[in-house]
Symmetry: C3
Subunit: 315 residues, 3 copies
């Protein structure tokens, strides 16, 4: 069993209930991971994912070996058949097969490069490990998805929803640097599994990959989207059509108290790290309705559920 995409969730509401059960008693399965090793491979920086996934593994009694791949290891080659006379010292084939022998589960963080859309969509690193590793793979944010985050988001919404079918708005917001679409993608895919009135709002031209959004509702008028919302999920992403570009930095899209006033007393969500007063004003993120810290807390239980399922499955 791998967890590289929201598509790996067979029953989201059951997974959310299972995660909440773990949250109530995080050390209950302390023996499940005994003598099992999680290898965490980072091709990019990480704070929440690094610490929460490690914490989840420790809660399950696992050993953890973390490695910053780019600085501590060797540059990898992902193409088949090439003459390796350039920078890459090791082929993904060997790397993945070898690491599989030292670890029972391999978790990987490898962001989009935002230069080559086709290459990012191919999820070169994740796909390379999926193809060549002989143990389960966990996605700690790939080029096109961040399913541990979205599972934590689902847990958090379950805890804070006040109506059976909440209105949930994913709102684009401005950011000074070009960011991947990964978090937004997985959030959309997760929401498509929920009983909710789900709306995506962003400037025209900022459409996400249509193969992911499918028939999810898009509303270009942010104010209109916010009406009666129960959850506002803010996130920046760079332009998917003009790939990896910043074509809009309009501060009118920043989430403000005035905008939150259009909602049904909505909870404010963001995956963090967040640029204050770019994505969201201090007033909103510091308000009682902000649940960003709880979202981050639930990263532990999201990861712990996934690791637990893999460990149980492996038996």
């Amino acid at each position: 069993m791998n967890y590289t995409s929201i598509k790996n969730i067979d029953n989201l509401s059951q997974w959310v209930q299972d995660a909440l059960e773990i949250k109530r008693n995080p050390l209950k399965n302390k023996k499940l991971g005994k003598n099992k090793t999680l290898g965490m491979l980072f091709f990019n920086p990480s704070l929440r994912t690094r610490l929460s996934t490690q914490k989840a593994a420790l809660n399950l009694g696992m050993n953890v070996m973390a490695m910053n791949f780019t600085s501590e290891g060797w540059t990898l080659e992902f193409e088949d058949g090439v003459i390796m006379n350039q920078a890459a010292s090791e082929h993904i084939k060997e790397a993945a097969e070898v690491i599989s022998q030292y670890c029972d589960i391999i978790a990987i963080r490898a962001f989009a490069g935002l230069i080559d859309k086709e290459k990012d969509n191919a999820e070169t690193v994740m796909a390379g490990f999926l193809k060549h590793a002989t143990v389960p793979i966990v996605n700690m944010e790939g080029a096109t998805g961040h399913p541990l985050q979205s599972l934590a988001d689902a847990i958090t919404m379950e805890e804070h929803k006040t109506t059976h079918r909440p209105k949930v708005v994913l709102s684009w917001a401005p950011h000074p640097r070009a960011l991947p679409q990964a978090v937004a993608n997985s959030f959309v895919e997760m929401m498509q599994l929920q009983n909710a009135d789900f709306v995506i709002t962003h400037p025209e031209g900022y459409e996400l990959n249509p193969e992911i959004t499918k028939d999810s509702k898009i509303e270009y008028d942010q104010d209109k989207a916010f009406e009666n919302a129960d959850f506002i999920y803010a996130k920046n992403w760079s332009n998917y059509n003009e790939y990896g570009q910043i074509t809009n930095a309009d501060s009118n899209w920043t989430i403000t108290a005035d905008k939150m006033n259009l909602t049904n007393n909505a909870k404010f969500m963001h995956c963090l790290p967040v640029r204050r007063n770019m994505i969201v004003t201090d007033e909103v993120i510091d308000s009682e309705n902000s649940i960003v810290i709880e979202q981050a807390n639930n990263r532990t239980y999201s990861a712990q559920l996934v690791l637990k399922k893999i460990l149980e499955n492996g038996k």
Copy 2:
């Protein structure tokens, strides 16, 4: 309970005795830290602190998650109210609150920048975590203090003193690079809690922050200061008045065997790393009277005492 300053020590002589008890039986409290996690955040390099604090946590049965913040995580913003459209990706408020959810204790190393005295004196990083974290904070060397080091120094002096009220000299010595005042500051504050004849000696102009030295004796004549000393504690620091500058590199201040001969067969101390033949000659640091290695050893017990107190306090 936090440990960010010598001021957090309520009873130094009792703490020293408790640490010596831990040293005699370091694994006695192996169960105290079970299922507790120490997060170690490094904004600067570290050898002794990194390994000894980790060792201390392991001796208490704790889990350890270490992170090099600057290379592995996100650049932090410490100012409130700013529009975060520059280099910093994450505000200390979120970072501290989030990490508090994954760790039971957060230990932080964040050196002085030595450019902006006011900013260094404000201990931006440490103060940010103190303000926003919801778990205890341990100072692994901040901009203005290194209290784990000074506690280890107190333990080491207790082991090696031969008189009830020793004469202890903190001596400045030359160094090719501008160093913070942190170690010297905490040593001074720790000595102010001791029953000792304490003297600080340094070139004129190299006075430490007077709010720290208070009425501690200063003697500009190094030879005179050394007379009858039982302990010589060598340390370089950059100029506090001409902030962060090296205004003196006089090799006459190097601790030599001739100078040690002025003392009462004094022990030689330094926090390490030490520049040989700049701070101190090979002859002195390699002599039987040098206790620098034992000082480093006691870093484990200093950290273990602090972690133990926090774990017990948290109950």
Copy 3:
């Protein structure tokens, strides 16, 4: 007991049998390392060594503290008697003595610089730790040897040999970057302890250190060397005579299927990471006769045997 060279192996065939016993039951000695700490110090990148040595320690129940010395710690001075007014902040003497107080075993990776032959042959870093540390030292690849690798190679050959006295060929192969001789050196020293027909083949001028190769057979004709071989061990190394230079990049030395056809259905070996289609063609390394992944797997048991012996010896 240290393990810094193949010379530390008193009885190779017994060690190989012991390692195979560990491989059959890797958790049998889970209590041996309880409350013991392995310090892993990296002066260079590492994948297999980093993960397999850590895994070996975990299998023995040890704690592990890993440190990237150059980025996380202080630059070390290795010369005695110098005035330390240059880049180095700490002398090996203090570093080694101090780390010995926090760790029960110190493992070190410090590659050859390939600029100064004399300095590399002196194994400055390894020798410095050997001289000043007060706990056992394990070589995780030094300037002139990689004995954990060669022990894993011996284990792997034992598992795959089909004749009592196999023919084993160490073949040089081209590589775009200058590599150390360490792996080849230790392999030669290990083979000199084996009952085998051992041949080294490389272009003229690429002779390894004659103090290591001694009377091992050298055959400059690669095809002739391959005749009837049972094992082909490929490895690049830079020129030892024109020290650290690449004086040959002849792709005729690449291990191809045609060359493997000259052998007695030989197994293909390489320590990894390997440059595909430089050192060896895809066809050969992807063939059934390639045992490179098993070699990497045996790194765990090679390291675990060494750590086990040291832990038992220390009692």
